[in-house]
């Protein structure tokens, strides 16, 4: 099994890691770098639990070879709070709204949602836009309702609109 030495930025820190050439970014993050926040639900790109951001864009890390991240910047859920003093507003809103039940899909959903908020910054966030952006992330517990509430809540706060009624 040939190993490659990969260099990438993970959650803002430069990282060098040796991994078999056929290993996915998910495997490298979870099993080589111990970044266990990124989850494996299906390992074939169907569930979205493994969603991370590569150069700010949500990607399925189970379908991405680790090699693809060479020289790029990878952000996982562990890095999400770092940009906002330990706890991203989305994480706080998900907690307030009980938007996570088992929480297993939550890291992937947060990574998709954070990218959505950046893409739509300054424009009103609609329920439809949230559903479209998150349609690649399956959640089996919540029926999605409280997740939508939490994301809209943060979107409206960021746009200076009236906060969603508690």
């Amino acid at each position: 099994m040939s190993h490659l030495l990969l260099s990438m930025t993970v959650n803002g820190e430069p990282v060098q890691v040796a991994a078999p050439a056929h290993h996915t970014l998910l495997e490298v993050l979870r099993y080589k770098l111990d970044l266990i926040g990124t989850k494996q639900g299906c390992d074939k790109g169907d569930c979205g639990a493994c969603t991370v951001q590569i150069d700010g864009v949500p990607q399925l890390s189970c379908l991405t070879l680790a090699l693809h991240a060479e020289g790029r910047s990878v952000t996982t859920v562990e890095g999400l709070g770092l940009q906002a003093g330990g706890c991203h507003p989305l994480q706080d809103a998900f907690d307030r709204w009980d938007a996570a039940q088992c929480g297993f899909c939550t890291p992937g959903i947060l990574m998709s949602a954070e990218a959505l908020l950046r893409r739509t910054a300054g424009r009103p966030l609609t329920r439809q836009a949230v559903c479209e952006a998150l349609a690649g992330n399956l959640c089996r517990c919540t029926g999605y309702t409280k997740i939508i509430d939490a994301v809209l809540d943060v979107g409206q706060q960021m746009n200076g609109e009236v906060a969603h009624a508690e």
Binding site: I36, Q101, F104, C131, R140, T145
Partner: protein, 791 residues
Amino acid sequence: MPSEDRERDWQLGKTHRKVDAMERMRGITRYTDDLKLPGMLHAKILRSPHAHARIKSIDLAPALAIPGVFAAVTGQDFKIPYGIIPWTQDENALAVDKVCHVGDGVVAIAAIDEDTANAACKAVRIEYEVLRAFFDPAEALKVRDRDSTINPYARKGNLSKHVLLEFGEVDAELASSDLVIEGEYHFEGTTHGAIEPHCALAHVETNGILTVWSATQVSHYLHRELSKVLELPPHRIRVIQPPLGGAFGGKSEPFDLEFCVSKLAMITKRPVKLLYTREEVFYAHRGRHPMKMKYRTGFSRDGKIKAVDAKTLLDGGAYSSFGLVTTYYSGQLLCAPYAFGTYRFDSTRAYTNKPACGPKRGHGSVQPRFAMEIQLDKAAVALGIDPIELRRRNDIGANTQTINEFRVGSNGFSECLDKVEAASGWRERRATLPYGRGLGVAGSTYISGTNYPIYPNEMPQAGVQICLDRSGRARVFSGANDIGQGSNTMLAVIVSEELGLPLEDIRVLSADTDLCPVDLGAYSSRITLMVGNACLAAAQKLRSKVCESVAKRWKVAKNRVVLAGRMAIDREDPERNISSAEAFVWAEVDHGLLGEVGSYNTPKDRHGDYRGATIGASPAYSFTAHLAEVEVDPETGIVDVKKIWVAHDCGKALSKRIVEGQIEGSTYMGFGEALMEEHLVDAQHRGAHAGPSLLDYRMPTFLDTPEIAAMIVEAPDANGPYGAKEAGEGPLHSTIPAIANAIYDAVGIRLDRLPFTPARVLAAIQERQRREQAGELAPHKPSTDEQRKIA
């Protein structure tokens, strides 16, 4: 019930941040696959490609020769059978002599990493003698010879269980009914689809104790079965359930991986982990049973249910799992929220060469509820009675007994109907919706735990231990499995309410068989009622000690001391208060270390005394009403569910958002089963799963899921903690028939087979159009002009 001196509801019914949610948001919670131990090996299971075959030989040598392979085990290492139900222990950790479905485990191999374990599985040589396989339960029941008997432990050919119970003179009542509705319904079955795949890790600690971390919802039953199969005394085994990534009944019995990692860890003396692939999760299954149901329901002219006659065939798959109970539940759980004049059910479960079926959210009763609620809707149309009114007329009410002799306490069903009726605008809107648009209603009930544990014993069904210490903190020890439903937070809310501590001062340690009192697990919606009661009992004892010590020092009556807001407060002089920590110190000085236990046992007077009378009996029943609005496209057969209103009587919502979340999640899951999901084994491809992936098995996404309006109804039950009943399973049931009935209202078609795919809907619409054109049926929803003419 709450003590008099409690500052009422300072926490109950509020919204809470869950005690363990923030670490999940931050990605630092360690689920089972997130655990990593030094020297850990990875295991894989080689599975059968045949639906039914005898194992003639297994050659492990080529696998063991691969560098990095440490050990392999086969069925010969696990000859003791197990099973979640003590009377039907009919499976082995790995196949002993034959395989019974595609995906049955045959060999497990531990290696230095997953890649090596996979390569070793490929190198194993197995010779099979293929046997005749059965995929249809009716076909399977026809044969009795040994070679055609699927399950190696079966004693009655492919008959897994038969239950026939009759209450009253059903045939006579049917004969004298003004209206008899007959229907045949087919629910092919669905699977749980938890996003976390099953995972287990085992390690023999230096003290010789086998520790097993598993994504299970029944750590106690797993503990028992490990002890049996591995022939180790229970005190040499410790089972820990790490935080769990969803379960829904799919992790409520032992699975092959837990036995395999344990045995491999014992052989290799290394930690061994095994994570199922998503495909393996589909083959492990234990999901909702396919049921074919024939119903005859007799009504009086005014819509009263005089007789229900049900005949049900359950497709059990290769093993019993919970099937004995499922077979009873398919009939026993139907007898509320409506009063039946008479009732008979005849349920038969057959073994087939498919992954075993078991309990999925709403165990055994979602399928018959689908049939029953459509029967009621048909009767409402035939009798010209409003479907909600028909349900009201049959409402069994509170403090009563069902036809099968279950005692029902509180009942908020009628308020559930009122709420969905008002919120949806049913009265004003229903008659005005054009062809293609429709509203449908359905109701249901569910248990809050079962009156008897799975294995017979007279000990309490739940126990909780609570310790307070001088830092002002409470520690709660509970064997209950938090599977994402929030049971740890539920316990913290009770302790908070009683002892005046905010949730962040309360640690809940759960589901560790070495540290926690035994709890039976997260199934049959038992935790809030049973473990909640045990927790309340312990918390009230502590509360009494603390209040007594504070009252003594303040020289006031004990009932003047209120514990709330991290303080002990004098009710009549609120300026006089001390911190909780100080109050606990006073109490510890007076009483010694502050620890109390509480336990809960079920009342035993909730059922009759016929054979099977206890199965389905519960201390308290929840009630639900669903009302769905749909738009059906007659050109494509696509059903668009616009909105679902759901009202659920949970007795008392201890934590508001958590209860809402359970109602929404249940309704979502029912929606998926109605329109999209079907767990199908492909007989044309020798019993392979029709699509063992989350792409092919279509679970609703954000875009698919309709708006869900969840409404809480509270009819407090004397048997629940503060009146609380279940909320996690009941609100699934009536989602499906509400959608079916809405489709009828929209386009006039009755769908007797799930799911309601566009192809099935379109075929039914075309058949109706053909019959309308042939003059056999009047047009459904005639235009306003025609309506006026009829009027």
